[in-house]
Assembly symmetry: C2
């Protein structure tokens, strides 16, 4: 059964949303997904799309996906590839689907002149962390991401002179 990785197309939006929900459940946040098919379609395939998708298929059946976008490093002065989501269905883990997706992402990063590729991992996900280290990825241990959202974001915006 051949494994293939291909670019996502508009017809993939329903399966992408299904896989996003499976990933959120795996990450112990099953209720965190508020995205809709319309929002995902706009983000990936709309006129001002902001992100891109890859689908991994096993004999035509979707078994994994990746969503990525381009960020920017002022220090490097160039774009980077940011991997927002990477997910492989449990029943096919251990067959190299994750590595196949990451290889394709690395090739896309190089093609686009990116100086680096980054992604965030939950600290308890040691199998993933071990795998990423075998690829030569380095944890940015001395940085913490801060997030401003909801009422706090609204409040700060509202005080703009």
């Amino acid at each position: 059964m051949p494994l293939v990785v291909r670019a996502a197309v508009p017809a993939d939006v329903p399966i992408i949303l299904t896989l996003v929900r499976e990933l959120a459940k795996y990450e112990r946040e099953p209720n965190a997904v508020v995205a809709t098919e319309a929002l995902v379609h706009d983000a990936l395939f709309g006129d001002s799309n902001v992100a891109y998708g890859l689908i991994a298929e096993d004999d035509g059946a979707p078994v994994g996906f990746a969503i990525y976008f381009f960020n920017f490093s002022t220090w490097l002065g160039r774009r980077g590839l940011y991997l927002e989501d990477l997910y492989v269905r449990p029943e096919v883990r251990g067959r190299g689907v994750g590595k196949l997706l990451l290889r394709r992402l690395a090739a896309i990063a190089i093609q686009h002149g990116c100086g680096r590729m980054e992604w965030a991992v939950l600290d308890w996900n040691q199998p993933a962390i071990g795998f990423y280290k075998t690829l030569g990825a380095v944890p940015m241990d001395d940085w913490t991401t801060f997030r401003l959202t909801g009422p706090a974001l609204q409040d700060l915006a509202a005080t703009t002179p």
Copy 2:
């Protein structure tokens, strides 16, 4: 002396690069900046620009800056604002320049329909961390960013089937 925050324009590229270098020195990575004026110009003002800049001025003199771009959350199904760099020159700290920049960024995030605003902070930068918490920003303590760059990125890309 009035403080103002305005969108960066192409003529700001040299001062932006100067401020980026000052920030890198403050972050104890003085040699990490390999960006050039041409690269910064392309990234902020080129045909396929990927990032945006704000300049803070005190009576016409540049005293701080912010560089940001839009990222994407699959869980929210919408864009977010990612603050790549925020810097205020030491001689004007304590006068609200940082807050003025963050307010403007929050307003831009809301205008663009973003569900959240995020940025990374070095763990030893406690003055900044304390300030961000007063705004209601929350540390994403259970996530670590991994980075793949240089030869490791090239090697992974080269193995793409």
